[in-house]
């Protein structure tokens, strides 16, 4: 195996580029401006980022989700535990944290963690609008922003396409006014793909969020190629299928050939399968464990699998 040297492929923007070689090292070099050198070459391995197509801003290929895991209410002990997960995430070079008003107390818990950690300047705040009333969108986003305790959100997406016809104009207006930086839409578990395709074709989106994993690959057929064509960043939710996928594969030993893609554990294996797809910006696994967040961030290090390796990985998971 050799490292690919084509920088246009590293950014995932080459329409004809094929993933035949590992891409890790130069992905990191394309990333670089915002990341400390120590993170770019942690453990002697390059740190992998991808550019947001609409701006070129680089983000690490692994983010942090908050669905269920950060919804701990007013439990101070659990809030401190979540803050430690966030600390582990940022210490490993992480940037994007994702939440939604639908996720119970997750926004408050993220706000608590950010405050406790001294508001890390590199945090990339990704939230959603989730309200059926179009006129209520701005107020909900403002309430969410207060819960996070940030000056503005980097990304606001329409959650599960709820009232997207009303919310997208609001979000584009907020982006134009500098109140948010990026606009997106989300869905999960393969729902409403036809509708999301239509939105991707007609609206000037920066981001789209969908579900994708080694065992749930529907988006490969149409959504991911369309995102590449339209220059839309793709964020992947539920990469471990809420833990069921990783729990099931962990019963088996990691195949020895996984080391060819610098995968030291199953989390890295599953995440590298996802983020090695050229259309994907990052995956956002959620966890309550500092050890697990470190494992997840390990997928930002070293080489990524090429197309042949990706096929081998998915075939192996199918066998398991």
């Amino acid at each position: 195996m050799t490292l690919r040297r084509d920088p246009s492929d590293i950014a995932g923007r080459s329409p004809t580029g094929e993933r035949r070689r590992f891409v890790g090292a130069l992905v990191a070099l394309g990333a670089g401006a915002l990341l400390p050198a120590a993170q770019l070459f942690a453990q002697g391995k390059p740190f992998i980022t991808r550019p947001i197509p609409s701006s070129g801003e680089a983000l690490p290929v692994v983010g942090l989700g908050s669905w269920i895991t950060f919804n701990v209410g007013n439990d101070r002990v659990a809030r401190d535990s979540c803050a430690e997960v966030m600390r582990g995430f940022f210490d490993a070079g992480g940037r994007m944290i994702d939440s939604s008003p639908m996720y119970g107390s997750s926004q408050d818990v993220i706000g608590y963690g950010l405050q406790k950690l001294g508001k890390p300047p590199r945090a990339f705040s990704a939230d959603k609008v989730w309200i059926s009333s179009g006129s209520g969108g701005r107020a909900q986003i403002e309430k969410s922003r207060e819960r996070w305790g940030v000056a503005r959100f980097d990304l606001v997406a329409v959650h599960n396409l709820l009232s997207w016809q009303q919310h997208l104009p609001t979000l584009f207006a907020m982006k134009a006014a500098g109140q948010i930086r990026y606009v997106g839409v989300t869905t999960s578990e393969g729902r409403r793909h036809q509708e999301i395709e239509e939105i991707m074709r007609r609206q000037p989106l920066d981001f789209v969020q969908v579900s994708y994993s080694a065992v749930e690959r529907d988006v490969e057929a149409r959504i991911l190629p369309l995102a590449r064509d339209r220059g839309i960043a793709v964020v992947i939710n539920r990469p471990f299928r809420e833990g069921t996928l990783i729990r099931s594969v962990k019963r088996q030993p990691l195949p020895p050939w996984a080391s060819e893609a610098d995968c030291a554990n199953w989390a890295e294996f599953l995440l590298k399968f996802i983020v090695s797809h050229p259309a994907i910006l990052c995956a956002i696994p959620a966890t309550t464990s500092v050890a697990h967040v470190r494992e997840n961030m390990g997928a930002c290090l070293g080489r990524l699998p090429d197309e042949a390796m990706r096929r081998r990985m998915s075939a192996h998971i199918d066998q398991l």
Binding site: G73, D75, A78, S105, E189, R192
Partner: protein, 222 residues
């Protein structure tokens, strides 16, 4: 909601099992020592229930209504809502049940019992179970006594005890005042089942026992 058939209950659960039961722990610490008051009220209900006396139905209904209002406000409205925004609606439902108990149980005195009958015995057993056994389930399955669910302050034992009383009071009382407790049991059973709690079947079995006994009674009358 389009593609509704693709959703399962787990898609609507916003919290983990650990967070859910930790909520009971924090709640119990927060309201201590009200659990002992609730336990005493449970004993009063059992005493009134077992030995007929004037006004027993009204008194039992008043105690139950007080418990439902407390659970609506203290548990659902103030605590559960911190991890589940839908708890607000459940709080309203529990408030409605308190209102039904006041209207039909206290004002109209619809709770009349027939001691010695099968449904009275089963109802009594359900109240015993709710007051004395349900709080022990948490420690028995390894969650610890702090996470105990106590009659009068936690939803499940309060709903089971209410169903026991209504079952003994007859099908009119059950259908008038039992729908919300039954739905509460089913919902709680479904949630804990989805969370993978080992004791999830308990609340479902309790609700099914009530339905089965009520259905048997109805079938015999038909």
């Amino acid at each position: 909601m389009s593609e509704w058939w693709t959703y399962s209950l787990s898609d609507f659960l916003l919290f983990s099992r650990r967070t859910y039961y930790r909520l009971f722990e924090l709640y119990n610490v927060d309201i201590w020592p009200l659990q002992s008051v609730a336990l005493a009220l449970g004993c009063v209900i059992l005493a009134l229930f077992w030995r007929p006396r004037a006004g027993q139905g009204r008194f039992i209904a008043a105690i139950l209504a007080l418990c439902w209002i407390w659970v609506a406000w203290a548990f659902h409205w103030r605590h559960f809502v911190t991890i589940n925004w839908a708890a607000t609606y459940v709080a309203y439902a529990f408030g409605c049940e308190a209102l039904l108990l006041i209207v039909f149980g206290v004002v109209r005195d619809d709770l009349a019992f027939a001691p010695g009958s099968v449904r009275h015995r089963i109802g009594f057993a359900l109240v015993i179970f709710a007051v004395f056994v349900e709080p022990l389930i948490a420690p028995l399955v390894g969650r610890g006594l702090l996470q105990a669910e106590v009659f009068g302050v936690a939803p499940d034992p309060t709903a089971v005890a209410t169903l026991g009383i209504l079952l003994a009071a007859g099908r009119h009382a059950l259908w008038r005042m039992g729908i919300i407790p039954l739905m509460s049991c089913m919902l709680s059973g479904a949630v804990t089942w989805t969370l993978g709690s080992p004791d999830a079947p308990v609340i479902l079995v309790a609700a099914l026992v009530v339905l089965a006994v009520a259905a048997t009674k109805t079938a015999r009358k038909a």
